[in-house]
Symmetry: C2
Subunit: 327 residues, 2 copies
Amino acid sequence: MSIGIKDVAKAAGVSAATVSRVLGSGSVSPDLRDKVEAAVRATGYRPNLSARRLRSQHSRTIGLIVSDIANPFFTELSRAVEMAAHQADLRVMLCNTDENPEREALYLEMMQEERITGLILAPTSVGAARIATMDFDFPVILIDRAGPLGAHDEVTIDNAESARLLVEHLVARGHRHIAGIFGNTSSTAAARHEGYVAAMAAHGLPPHAQFVAPTAEAAGAAFMRMVERSLRLDAVLASNGLILLGVVKASKAMGLEMPRDLSVVGFDNETWTDLVGAGITVIEQPVAEIGRTAMALLFERLACPHLPPRRVVLSGRLVERGMPRPA
Amino acid sequence: MSIGIKDVAKAAGVSAATVSRVLGSGSVSPDLRDKVEAAVRATGYRPNLSARRLRSQHSRTIGLIVSDIANPFFTELSRAVEMAAHQADLRVMLCNTDENPEREALYLEMMQEERITGLILAPTSVGAARIATMDFDFPVILIDRAGPLGAHDEVTIDNAESARLLVEHLVARGHRHIAGIFGNTSSTAAARHEGYVAAMAAHGLPPHAQFVAPTAEAAGAAFMRMVERSLRLDAVLASNGLILLGVVKASKAMGLEMPRDLSVVGFDNETWTDLVGAGITVIEQPVAEIGRTAMALLFERLACPHLPPRRVVLSGRLVERGMPRPA
DNA sequence: CAAAAATGTGAGATCGTTTTCAGAAATGTC
DNA sequence: GACATTTCTGAAAACGATCTCACATTTTTG
């Protein structure tokens, strides 16, 4: 079959154990080490990871389960995680649930079967609660979405405060009739809704909130219905990039012009948000930092398994664009 | 440690071999099967994939190496591949090189060490040539980027023809001074350039082509330089989504208005292309079909290793948007 | 210089499965 | 009823690495 460690050993005139020590970090005399390295190159030997993992009982692999790989937030996040993992000489297994709890469950099983070292997980809404009750043979770090407090380590951003910033931005620019459209599946959206309602109340403004499936289509349709109902709308807050997209597309379809008839603000600083009209004000999430923090928490947890669970909250950054409401 | 097949066997009062047969597809009498299944549930047993792969000598895993996970083309592609793989009960290992040949090499090594069943690969420009000369223990299917003919199976789109369609579109709408900006790293961009030049020649128009690093910044800067040099430019063809983005941002920065001063066309039907101005005409790639085709080629290759290598060319679809050139 | 300690090496056990093989039991055939 | 088949089952080998342990050699120490 393919060449194994014994073939290398034979070629180098040493035992398999010595080859293993050269490959790993055992102490080997320089001349034998040279011979082995030469033999490895000569034979083109590639260690069999399955065998290695089986025997050594650790996978040097962490899992990363995201809920939507098409969302730039998660692709950037996976980049950051991958980078940090690579520095620690760990592999990353990236899986995408597409917000489907069944796929999430499937991947969670797979992670157990792979005997991963740790898991970074953006749970689906349904999953978050269930996962808090399960116990795993490895540490789990939740990101983006929060679970019940105290079950696992978590990294999130201050969603309520970020929503407040967006409302303040709109109010400062003269908007009063501010609607909010929120995803109906994540704790993240719920927190953003909370911040929106509170900020509106602080200005004595009535909230117009709507929860929708987190797709551009659903958001667009919801927005159209809102406009038909209440003509006085002059701004919309969208709880994520997809909803933002839906609202922008719908308003374009209805012939609304961006600074004149409507302002839109939202979350996630996607590439297109500065191309539309005079630009769209958004909250940019510190994606890379979220990834790095999650990895840091994971390492600490691996070092000290019995620390109490921690929740790290990072801040979103307001990226101001667009123009004030015309008089 | 964690529970193994022997623990399950003991709990069920059978041998480990029988448990293995129940889990796999061996023939086991119904009553023993029931007992084993009960024992599996009772113990919460999860098979150890490393051990399984080591013994059974196949990983039931395919590799997918893409060159830029942030590109929606590749995220959608990975979705399609994942879906097809899942139906065949295969896992997908997704890796992202970020166009970095070193990371590509690293991942290729890893794939060998994982003893994957097959690989679907969008090579970096540097990588494509080198990979043609290497030989692997598993079939390799190239996608998006072509290698030297005959080395591996391939799935691409008809890039030259697609570029021609874009030129025809512009010419039909009254444009004559059409520049082209192309990535300088992929065979894909080269083919698109070829199609552009041929189509321009067919109309007796002089080409204005420029090759740039495939980033929005480089493309924007190149476009600005072009405008400064030749004021008569009335349209631009961009060879991929990122370059398109760079051109649109730069033209916006220079105060050019989209139907009035300039038309832009390009590849990849990204979400934002219908939001900008009157919309941007693009070639939409049949991403899902590319993914499915790659998987199909892989399965056929696994079935018949000695078939001559095949190249499948799919067609892009012209999505017409925007408005004709003002008189 | 002898004893003690440190170092390098290889034989063989081991990780948790699947697979082979042989035997037992059940079934079929004449 | 005896023999040939088929069907199940368990003991033990095998997968390819690492790790333990014992032994040989070298180095340190008093």
